[in-house]
Amino acid sequence: MANIITAGNSTNGGTAITTDTSGTLNIVTGSGSGATAISVDASQATVFAAGVSGTTGSFSGNMSFNSGYGSAAVAYGCRAWVNFNGTGTVAIRGSGNVTSITDNGTGEYTVNFTSAITDANYATVLGQERTRASSDAGFVGSYSQSTTSVRINTRNIAGALIDFEGVDVAVFR
């Protein structure tokens, strides 16, 4: 048992508060199912239940946390990312806030964002993936940064455009 706050719904006729002496606070959404969305125990540890809408909420202020950093500090988010293979059939392996990549030619790509970045002054972090240690080494560069897309190209150490086996792109702002 725990202290329970249940949002108002057609079942309980309004916000319901149930109390006990456990020291744990549970907040239940108004679905009427009784599923706990957020739980705060006596040590103030907060748990967001998996799979509930609360885990996909938004936060308009600065979010600070420690999580091994040493002190609570504002954390800056990765606003878009994509991992794709650049050889054979070019395909996206995984992504976030990316609708597509455009294959413009050998070693030339455009990453297209789903939601625009607030401005073009973001940091684009790039990586080359190789499936073998003996694969060609090279460089990845970004250019033409805009709020809706960023172009990248991949080159070997001689400076020629080549396709990499895998490319990682992350945008921080």
């Binding site: 996206i92 992504s95 609708t99 597509s100 455009t102 030619g105 789903t114 396709d163």
Partner: protein, 61 residues
């Protein structure tokens, strides 16, 4: 799986590879990511050669 192709200004072809996680349809991605004024086609991924040796010689047809 589908791809969107459109001609580039230098006579080549650009290929848009959709992100499965984005939640948009292929038509919505085309409307958003194909440059304004460009004609485009939606094709099967099997229609795109996997041998990229001469990628820069590919043309839009």
């Amino acid at each position: 799986m589908k791809r969107i192709i459109y001609p580039t200004d230098d006579g080549g072809v650009a290929i848009i590879v959709p992100a499965a996680e984005c939640g948009l349809t292929i038509e919505q991605i085309a409307a958003k990511d194909v440059p304004s004024g460009k004609s485009y086609k939606i094709v099967d991924v099997a229609d795109i050669p996997s041998d990229r040796t001469f990628r820069d010689a590919w043309e839009y047809a």
